[in-house]
C-alpha cells in the first residue's frame, strides 16, 4: 500500500457516520470478506485511511441486519488453510443506500467546503 505523510492520515473518528457508506462502496466492486474490505478502503484512500479494524465487523453486522448486505461462509474448497471466512455481498437495497449515501456526501462535502474555504464574515453582512 502507498506510504503517506503521517500528518495526512485520516483517523477513523473523522469518518464517523460514513463508515457504512464506505463499506458499501467497497462491496460495490465485488463480494469480499472483512479483511479484503479493509484493504480496498485503504487502497482507495492511498494509505491515508486508518480504520480501527475492530469497528469494521460491528458495521458489517449492522449492514447485514438492515438488509443492505448479505453474508455467506466461503466454500470449503477455497484452497486456503485456516478458518473459513464470511463473504459479504451488497444487496439491491444496499446499492440504493449507497447511491443515497454518495449524494449526501457530495452535498455535505460541497457545503462544508464552501464554509471552510470561502469567506464566512462576508456572508453575514
Amino acid at each position: 500500500m502507498a506510504k503517506t505523510n503521517p500528518e495526512s492520515v485520516i483517523e477513523s473518528n473523522h469518518l464517523r457516520g460514513h463508515l457504512a457508506t464506505m463499506i458499501l462502496s467497497a462491496l460495490d466492486q465485488d463480494d469480499a470478506h472483512g479483511f479484503e474490505v479493509l484493504k480496498r478502503l485503504e487502497q482507495a484512500g492511498c494509505g491515508a485511511l486508518k480504520l480501527k479494524e475492530g469497528s469494521l465487523y460491528p458495521a458489517l453486522y449492522r449492514l447485514e441486519e438492515a438488509g443492505l448486505v448479505k453474508a455467506r461462509w466461503e466454500e470449503g474448497d477455497s484452497g486456503r488453510r485456516g478458518p473459513r471466512r464470511r463473504l459479504y455481498k451488497i444487496t439491491r437495497k444496499g446499492r440504493k443506500q449507497l447511491e443515497a449515501g454518495r449524494v449526501e456526501w457530495t452535498q455535505f462535502a460541497k457545503i462544508i467546503g464552501q464554509i471552510i474555504t470561502g469567506p464566512v464574515a462576508g456572508a453575514a453582512t
Binding site: H33, G34, F35, K52, E53, G54, S55, Y57, P58, Y61, R62, E65, R81, G82, P83, R84, R85, R86
Partner: protein, 257 residues
C-alpha cells in the same frame, strides 16, 4: 513461511479473539460466528504482516493491535446483538452447563427451574378452576396445594435425575458411539426416568389426595407435560452438543496472562 505458521502464534490470536468475544451477551451460535470471523481476520492480518517483512512474533503483535482494544471492540460487537440473541443467551445461561460448573450444581439448578415452572403451570391451570376451594382453605383446597407442591417437587426430581443420568450415560458411551447416538440414548434414559417417576408421582398424588379421579386427572396433565419437558430437554441437549462441539475449543482456552 506463511503456510507453516506455528501453532503458538495461532493460539495467541485465538486467545485475543476469545478475550473480545467471551464476555459478550449473545447466543452461543452468534458468538461462534463472531469468533470464527474475527479469528479469520486476525490470521489474514498476520499473513499480511508476514508478507510485509515482519517476523512471526511481530506479525502476531501487529495483528492483535489491528483488532483493536478488547473493550472497545467488545462494546461495538455487543451493540449489534439483537434482543432475540440476548434472550437466547439468558435461557442458555440456565439450561446450558457452563464451564467450571459441576454436574451436581447444574442438575440442582435445572431441577429448581423445572420444579418452579411446573408449580407455576399447575397453579395457573388449577387456581381459576378451584379458586373457591383455595380461598375457603378446606380439605380439598389443602389437598390441591399439596398436589401442586408435590408435582413441582416430582418434576424437579425427575429433571435432576435425567440431567445426572443423561450426563453419565453420555460419558460412558461417548467413546463408542456418535454424538447423535449418545443423545438418542440419553433421550431414552430421560423418557424411561420420566415414566418411572410418573408412576411414583401417581402414587404420591394418590397418597395425598386419596382420590382416584383427582390423581388420574393430574396424571393426564403430568403425562402431557412430562413428554413436552422430555422433548425440550432432548432438543436443548441436541442443540447444546452441536454448539458445544464447535465452541469447546474456544471455551477451553485459558485467557489468563
Amino acid at each position: 513461511m506463511i503456510g507453516n505458521m506455528k501453532g503458538e502464534h495461532e493460539q495467541k490470536l485465538k486467545v485475543h479473539v476469545e478475550r473480545i468475544v467471551r464476555p459478550i451477551r449473545a447466543a452461543e451460535k452468534d458468538k461462534l460466528k463472531m469468533r470464527e470471523e474475527l479469528f479469520a481476520h486476525a490470521l489474514d492480518a498476520f499473513e499480511y504482516e508476514c508478507e510485509q517483512g515482519a517476523n512471526e512474533s511481530l506479525a502476531v503483535s501487529r495483528a492483535i493491535e489491528r483488532l483493536g482494544h478488547v473493550e472497545a471492540t467488545q462494546a461495538g460487537l455487543q451493540a449489534t446483538v439483537g434482543w432475540e440473541s440476548r434472550y437466547n443467551a439468558f435461557c442458555e445461561k440456565f439450561v446450558r452447563r457452563t464451564q467450571g460448573v459441576s454436574l451436581l450444581k447444574h442438575a440442582c439448578r435445572m431441577a429448581l427451574l423445572v420444579g418452579i415452572f411446573f408449580m407455576l403451570y399447575m397453579s395457573l391451570l388449577m387456581i381459576p378452576i378451584r379458586l373457591h376451594e383455595l380461598l375457603a382453605w378446606n380439605s380439598e383446597g389443602q389437598t390441591l396445594v399439596r398436589v401442586m407442591l408435590g408435582l413441582g417437587f416430582l418434576f424437579g426430581a425427575a429433571t435432576f435425575a435425567c440431567v445426572v443420568l443423561g450426563s453419565f450415560a453420555y460419558q460412558l458411551v461417548g467413546r463408542k458411539f456418535s454424538r447423535r447416538g449418545d443423545y438418542l440414548r440419553t433421550f431414552g434414559i430421560t423418557l424411561a426416568m420420566t415414566l418411572i417417576l410418573g408412576v411414583l408421582g401417581w402414587g404420591f398424588t394418590y397418597g395425598v389426595s386419596f382420590d382416584v379421579a383427582v390423581s388420574i386427572e393430574i396424571m393426564q396433565h403430568w403425562l402431557v407435560m412430562s413428554l413436552a419437558v422430555t422433548a425440550c430437554l432432548f432438543v436443548a441437549a441436541w442443540c447444546d452438543v452441536r454448539e458445544r462441539v464447535k465452541c469447546n475449543d474456544w471455551l477451553e482456552l485459558d485467557l489468563s496472562d
